[in-house]
Symmetry: C2
Subunit: 169 residues, 2 copies
């Protein structure tokens, strides 16, 4: 594990940089698919995977990859920070400045993060007793990120998108 503070900070920044590059390429790939540019989209998806390996190597060098239980706890802490600290602060300023597109984007995120927090909390309990979670299907709204482990809804309860917009895992 990397020890020196300056190099640790650089690897933190490189992890953020690679994560953002990875995300941008996935967004660009989705956009290229919509315009029918399949091979261009494939290039972005391939390079995004390369950025995944870089981010993962930096993350491991920082000593952040734990056991499944530790990783669930880190996931839960991240979601709770977003729900309790980050998004409420961003939301109140967006209201003050009447930035409607930000309010929409923040609302979508916070509603999904509440569900994720609850899923991680449940998973921590289950993993303590069993090796793995029960097998079940998970549906994600591709518009707003609404997440449900029940059946595919007719329309998204958060953004109203039809069921064709859901991605099944």
């Amino acid at each position: 594990m990397v020890k020196r503070p300056m190099v640790r900070q650089f690897l933190e920044d490189a992890f953020a940089g690679e994560s953002k590059a990875h995300m941008k390429y996935l967004i660009f790939a989705e956009n290229a698919e919509k315009s029918g540019n399949i091979n261009l989209a494939k290039m972005w998806r391939a390079i995004a995977h390369a950025e995944f390996t870089h981010a993962r190597n930096h993350f491991k060098a920082l000593g952040y990859l734990g056991t499944n239980g530790e990783n669930l706890k880190a996931s839960l802490d991240g979601e709770n920070f977003e729900i309790e600290e980050m998004y409420p602060a961003y939301n109140v300023v967006s209201e003050l400045q009447n930035e409607k597109e930000a309010l929409r984007s923040i609302h979508f995120a916070i509603e999904a993060e509440k569900i994720h927090s609850s899923m991680y909390k449940d998973a921590i309990e289950k993993i303590e007793k069993n090796d793995d979670l029960d097998e079940k299907e998970i549906y994600i709204c591709n518009v707003c990120g609404y997440t449900t482990e029940d059946s595919l809804p007719e329309k998204c309860p958060v953004c109203g998108a039809g069921k064709d917009n859901f991605v099944k895992f």
Copy 2:
């Protein structure tokens, strides 16, 4: 598009936060798959997709999603920043402090980013003449991110991993 500077800064930070959460969940999912926890891995992959939608919504609210050509230029600029500015700075400090794990992780990244820069440069030229790129296979080393459009190599020329470690796109 969001105009006010404070809300724009918040959305930038939220884009970074969602991108990092997305990346962590993919890393945790890969790790859970290695330990045979398939359903736990699936939950992380599903929630990672929800975080993708949030990051994409923030990115669009910031007005950053362009045409395919503009997105290629943004991709090229990002890779060139990493090759010319970011990683050489991180590398020389990691050498000064003899942080071997950081040197390895940075070396892997910079070697791949050089190839990505060249691929984006070629793609910008091709997209100006045609709608899409030519169809070809792309291989990514899952250890170091080495990227090649030729045939599957016997072993990775950057990290030495065997051909079984390559992911085909």
